[in-house]
């Protein structure tokens, strides 16, 4: 193969944020964005399988799922949705500030996001605590206080709560991972690391992840908390 040497000047050492395998910042940024979207596709499939299980069981046991869902606290769900939507906005703003290289703005916005995430987890904690108190966690003691089942068949209510704890639990795990990643990103910004200040892409990637967490909740909330009466 007649391969001749490239006349491209290689950017070694020119840009602190440029990794050795890339030619220029544009190629690097494109790669990171494509990589993140590819990862998000896997996340879509990951949660998608759970949504599929939920769809099947709910269509099979509509009335029981409806009755079981009355045990959930819609106010708390609404608060959590507001909090997450707002945090999505603050993350989008932090990406904007990162593009404009305004360190203070980024730190402030990410800080608000952290507070929102914490608030979400605190509300979640109280919700879970209530369910455990009402013996609505699947397992041997499930439904020992039938008044909290609102008349649903215990077996099918157990399926519902199994999915409830599984799906919101996995989503909560994603929120916690998001908090850790955002914390790491904030530390980088705090220390003025060139990795983030010279290049907005790390902030953008964390933002994409956080929006995805929000996206899952957008579907979880009406499916779990707001069922129409069958």
């Amino acid at each position: 193969m007649a391969a001749i040497a490239s006349d491209h000047g290689h950017g070694h050492g020119h840009d602190e944020a440029l990794h050795h395998q890339f030619e220029n910042m544009e190629q690097q940024n494109d790669s990171y964005i494509v990589g993140m979207w590819t990862f998000l596709v896997t996340e879509v499939m990951f949660f998608g399988a759970l949504f599929l299980i939920y769809t099947l069981y709910r269509s099979m046991y509509q009335m029981d799922f409806f009755l079981a869902h009355e045990a959930l606290n819609v106010q708390m769900g609404m608060i959590n949705t507001f909090v997450l939507l707002f945090s999505s906005f603050t993350v989008a703003m932090s990406v904007r500030y990162a593009q404009l290289q305004k360190r203070g703005g980024v730190l402030a916005m990410l800080g608000i996001t952290q507070v929102c995430a914490l608030a979400f987890m605190v509300v979640k904690y109280f919700e879970y605590q209530e369910k455990f108190g009402h013996h609505l966690y699947p397992g041997p003691g499930f439904g020992s206080h039938p008044e909290y089942l609102h008349g649903a068949t215990p077996n099918f209510a157990q399926l519902y709560f199994g999915l409830y704890f599984g799906m919101t639990g996995l989503h909560g795990l994603h929120v916690v991972i998001g908090m850790i990643v955002i914390g790491y990103l904030m530390a980088k910004w705090w220390r003025n690391s060139p990795m983030v200040t010279k290049d907005y892409i790390p902030t953008e990637l964390v933002g994409l992840y956080w929006h995805f967490v929000d996206l899952v909740w957008i579907f979880l909330f009406p499916l779990m908390y707001l069922m129409p009466k069958p």
């Binding site: 190629q27 964005i33 939507l85 593009q99 129409p228």
Partner: protein, 146 residues
Amino acid sequence: MASTPLSSDSKHGGHSHVQPVWLLLGNMLWLMVLLIITWWASTFDFGNVVINNVVAMLIATIKAVFVIWIFMGVMHASKLAKIWVVAGFGFLFLMFGILGDYATRQFEPVSGWETNVPNGGASSFPRQWPPQKKPEQVGENFRPRG
């Protein structure tokens, strides 16, 4: 399709589009409005349960589209990112083809076979969809573990 990544130097800053504050703020407020509508729609009866569920999912989808399009910046993203978004959700719908199994199980050729099952029809999984008869709630039907 044939363009190589390095030859497309001209398209600089294509994805690093800075979104204006009014757009982000407006999008958030619009999502909040949609959230209220979601709650309202869940209390309102549109006719039957199928329509109610479709409406609920439709509103959620609209919310998702606004998050993806504006917050996630797909509006200004590369074509490849757009393809991934479509492919991701496309394959998700493909997977929901699994439900086709459950939707067609009741149309078996021999009529009445689904009632003539051993154990008096107490098979744990109903062949009819949606199930006509609930299994009896009995003590040993609880999970044996634990």
